[in-house]
Assembly symmetry: none
Homo-oligomer: 204 residues x 2
DNA sequence: AATTTTACTATATATTTATACAGTATAATG
DNA sequence: CATTATACTGTATAAATATATAGTAAAATT
């Protein structure tokens, strides 16, 4: 995807706005009217440039045959479950754990995610994670040092920074001086990583 | 919304499938081709019936001017502008201040809001507002003590707690010990409230 | 039983629309 | 310095398209 010029961006926006408003793409004349051009060829050349750069597709010989190339916007929305931090047991998606669902565009946080976790306590306060915040959790085992993970140690679920200090030693670090580090020896204690935080939502 | 006949449902489905596939609505001829009709008037009469029953809208004199009436899904979402904290001047919605837009369901934070403000600095750190967070700002003058407001004092825009301590005295309180209280005497200094925070989004 | 709705074929045409061609001018790139 | 990309106006036209008109026939409604 090459660089878009400001004018081409205007044309692209104009197309998107037109589709949002009417449900179908504009004609060359429609674009001219909207942007003040006096020749249909002004729109035509912009469309050709946008097509060449990969921003749109044009179906030749077809009226209003413009489509915006944006795979992200397709199948946009989704209802994501909000689960509470259950004291005992993992935050499963079983219906008794789901307080409600939240409609959120897919890929809202850049990355995919699976559910929202409602935060209890202030152990990650200095990371800007407050009580009742919703953490967007992606179920994954691909964890790097410094990631904020949702971890389960023997029926206890917590949100902490992940830090592997030795092949068998993992530190779960809070972001709050009042809480203490949890050092887990993987040979002695079972540690299950539910996933990691990819975003956060606060409603106030 | 009256009863749809099976054949009309087929036509409606055909339109939806065509839009999903191509990004724009079909012509009469396209519908005929898809459903095996031999006359464009077959499609035309079905379209008229669907319009009469309220399932679609037809823009007269417009090629491919068909839109599916679905009030639930339409208008659910919105593109909200993301504005940066401009050092001088208010965070207006002028295009030069808008870095990009974010698709977000309406009423996502319980309340309506107008734009997202990208946070600079750590003056509200203890309130869980970190650098680069997006604050959902509702433009309003209805502010209560304790609200997080976006305030402008002589070309300086800040995010702070609002606290009125006397009829003419307003304190703008940071949530970080390293920053100091701003006391504003409304008789001496002009204080403009842009709006208040109704929510927060963090992408990590 | 009469009328309306549904469900088509077939043909015609005014209008809409994409798109080519001929220019002008400035900025960016190699 | 030549070339390409950007950014337009203006005119023209073949093709795409909506839409009207004229029929036929079965099903549903009044």
């Amino acid at each position: 995807m090459k660089n878009i010029t400001p004018q081409q961006q205007k044309v692209l926006d104009c197309i998107q706005v037109y589709i949002n408003k009417t449900g179908f793409p504009p004609t060359r004349a429609d674009i001219c009217k909207e942007l003040g051009f006096k020749s249909p060829n002004s729109a035509e050349t912009h469309l050709r440039a946008l097509e060449k750069k990969g921003f749109i597709s044009i179906e030749s010989g077809t009226s209003r045959g413009i489509s915006i190339n944006n795979p992200e916007i397709v199948e946009n929305n989704n209802e994501y479950p909000i689960v509470g931090l259950v004291a005992a047991g993992s935050p499963t998606l079983a219906s008794e754990n789901v307080e409600k669902t939240l409609n959120c565009p897919k890929g809202f946080f850049g990355s995919d995610f699976d559910y929202f976790l409602r935060v209890r306590g202030l152990s990650m306060k200095d990371a800007g994670i407050m009580e009742d915040d919703l953490i967007a959790v992606k179920k994954t085992q691909e964890i790097r040092n410094g990631d904020i993970v949702i971890a389960r140690i023997e029926d206890e679920v917590t949100v902490k920074y992940f830090q592997r200090t030795a092949p068998n030693i993992v530190h779960l670090k809070p972001a709050n001086q009042d809480f203490k580090d949890i050092e887990v020896n993987l040979e002695e204690t079972e540690l299950f990583i539910e996933g990691k935080s990819v975003g956060l939502i606060r409603e106030n």
